[in-house]
Amino acid sequence: MRRLRGRALLLLPLLLALASPALAVQPDEMMKDPTLEARARSLSSELRCLVCQNESIDDSEAPLARDIRILIRERIGKGESNDAVRAYLVSRYGDFILLRPPFKRETWLLWLSPVLILGLGLGAALIARRRAARITPRLSAEEEARLAALIDGDASRR
C-alpha cells in the first residue's frame, strides 16, 4: 500500500495501527487462574508490541503481540516469576521490548533528566534572587533613622 499522505490528526499513526479486525486480549488466551491472569496482564502492559507504534502488547491487535501474550502465559503457567519472564524476553528481543527503559549506562541521563533540569532551574532562580538583592540599594543608616522617626512621629500623633 502506498504510504498514507494524510496524517493531519495527531493520533492517526496510533489509530492506524489499531485498525485491524480483532481485539487486543482475546478471551481464549486468558488463564483460568485469576491471580495468574492478573500477573500476566500487568506484565504485558509493560511490554512493547514490537511491530506497533508505542503500544503495549496488552493493547495491541498485532499477531506478534498475541504470540508474546500466549508465550508469557505459558511461562507463568509453568511457575516462572514475572522477572524471569521479563529477563527471557529481553534476552530475545533486547531492551526495546521494555516500555520502561532499564536504568543503565545508556539511560541514566534520561532517568535523571527531571532531577537535573529541576536542579538547574532552582539554581538559576537562586542566582537571580541573589543578584536582585545585591542590585537593590539598602536604606542607609541615616535613612533608617529618618524612617524610624517618621513612624514614631506618626504613632505619637495618634
Partner: protein
Amino acid sequence: MIVEIGHFALVLALAAALAQTVVPFWGARAGDVGLMTVGRNAALIQLALIAVAFAALVNAHLTSDFSVLNVAENSNVAMPTIYKISGVWGNHEGSMLLWVLILAIFGALVALFGRGLPARLRADALAVQGLISLAFLAFILLTSNPFERLAPAPFEGRDLNPILQDPGLAIHPPMLYLGYVGFSIVYSFAAAALIEGRIEAAWARFVRPFTLVAWSFLTLGIAAGSFWAYYTLGWGGFWFWDPVENASLMPWLAGTAFLHSVAVMEKRDALKIWTIFLAILAFSFSLLGTFLVRSGVLTSVHAFANDPRRGVFILAILAMFICGSFALFAWRAPMLKQGGLFAPVSREGALVVNNLLLTTACATVLFGTLYPLALEQLTGEKITVGAPFFNLTCGTLLLTACLVAPFGFSLAWKRGDLLGVVQRLALAIIVGVVAALISAAWLSGAPIFAPLAMGLALFVILATLIEVGARAWRPGLTAGVALKRSLGLPLSFFGGALAHLGLGVTLLGLSGLGFGAETVATLHKGVPVAVGPYSVTLNSVGEQVGPNYKETVASVAVRSGDTVVAEIAPARRQFASRAMTTTQAGLKTLGFGQVYVSIADPAADGAVPARLYWKPLVTLIWLGAAAMALGGALSLADRRLRFGVAARASARTLPQPAE
C-alpha cells in the same frame, strides 16, 4: 479555474508576507511611520488572500473535483458533506493551509487591535509574524502544494481515511491549531521586545488576551483529541504518551507556565526575562510539534526518505526560529530591566515554583520523546520510552505542581503569610489527607496514584472554593454585603478560580481510574457478564448499511441488579474503499462514570468477543478540561483583558518616546 485562483492567491499571500516582513522592520529602524503602517495593511491583505486560497480548496473538496490530487487522494463522492469539509484538513497539505490561515487570522488581530501600541513594537512584531508566515507559505508552495492537478482525473476518489471520518476531525485539529498558532503572537511580541531591548507591563497586558485564547483552545483541542481516542480505540484509554500526543502536551505545559508568569509580569512588573523566555519556549514547542507530526520523523525514520524535502524544510524553519530567537534572547535579555522584588514566600514565589515544575515536566516529555531517536543515532541501540516512564516522572512533577497550585492562589503578592494560608485552607488540607488515606485503605495493594490523585483533587477543589469565599466574605459581614463584594471581584479572578477548579475536577476524574473494573469475555446471547456494579447482556447482533460503510452492531443491555439502565450499541464498521475496519465503542454515561463496551468481529455461532469497562468519574477528566478553557474565556471577558484595551489604555498613559 477556481483551483488556479486559489493557487495564485497563495502565491500573492507569499508576496504580502514578504512585504509584511521587510517593510515595517525597515520602517522601524528608519523611524518612518508610513513604512511601519505597511505592515498592518500587508497583514490584512495576507489574511484575505489565504482565505481565498482556503475557500478554493474547500470548494474543490465539496464539489469532489478529482482533477485535484489532494481531493482525489482524500475524498470520495459517497462521503457525508461534513466529512468532505473536515477532510480538507484531514491530510498533510490541507492541514498546513489551515495552519497558515489561522496564523494570518492572528496576524490580522494584531493589525486591527494594536493601534495604541508603541509603533515600533507593533511594526517589529508584525514583521516577525510575517516572517513565520513567509516560511510556512514557502513550505506549502514548494513542497506541499494542495492545488496540484492530476491528469487524467480519476472517476472516484480514494476516500478519506475511515478513522478520520468522525466529528472529532471537525473539532480537534482546528482547535489544536488555534492553540499552537496563537502562541506565535506571543513569540512575535517577545522577539519585538528583545529587538527593542525594552519591555514593560503594557507588553504583558497586550499579550495576555492572545495567550488566553491560544491556551484555552489548546486545552480544548487536547481534550477533544483525548476523548476521540477514548471512544474509537476500543480499550478505553485516553492518553498514551504517544510522541504525537506529547507534541501537543509540550506547548500546553510551556503555555500554562507562560500564562502564569505573564500574570505576574502584568501585576507586579517582575519575572520579565523569565516571561520572555517562556514566550519563546511555548511557540518553539508548537513548531517542534508541527515538525514531529508533519515530517513523520517519529512515526518512522523512513518518512524522510519518502519525501526528504519536507522534513528537511521544516527542520530548517524550526532551526531558524528556535535558534534565532534564543540567540536574540542571549544577546538582548541581559539588557532588560528587572523590576518587582518579592519574598520567597509570596504569590510570585509560588508561581516561580510552579513554573519550574511545569517547565521541568515539559523538558522531561521532550527528553523522553527524543531520547530513543538520539540514542539510536549515536550508538545504534534501540530502547523504548513508554507510558510507565512518563507516568512516573511527569506524573510526580505534575502532581507536585497541583499541590502547590492552591497555595499560589491563596498567598498574597510580594510577601505572603504561609502559616495564615495553611490555617485558612486547613479544612481543604484535612479533607484531602483523609480522602487519600481512606481510598488508599479501600484500594490496598493497588498503585498509589489513585489515592494520591483523589486526595489532591479534593484539596484543590475545596481550597479554591474557600479562597473564593474568603475574598467575598469575612466574619461579621451579612450575606447581602458578601454578595455585593463578590460581584465587585474582577472576572479574571473568577477565571483563575474556575481554571483551578477544572484542574481539580480533571484530577478527580483521573483518580476514578483506580476504582474502575474491566472484564474481557465472550458474550453469548442472553448470558449476563458482570463488570463493576453492573451486568451486561448481549441481546442481538445485526448488520446495518451506512452512507459509505457496512457495520456489525451488537445490541447490549446494561443492568443494575434486575433493572435495565441502558441499551448500548457497540459496532464495527467496514469501509470498502480502503478495506479498513474501525471500532465504535458503545458508551453509556451513568452519573459521572461510563459503561464502555467494545466488540470484535462475531464468531460463526453469533458469540461476540468483547471488552467491558466500568469507568467511574471518567467524564470528569474532560469536563475539568472544559472548565479550564472556560476559565480562560472568563478571564478574557474581564474588562482589563479584552483585545486592544491594554493598547488603548497604554496609549493614554504612556507618552510615546520622541523619535
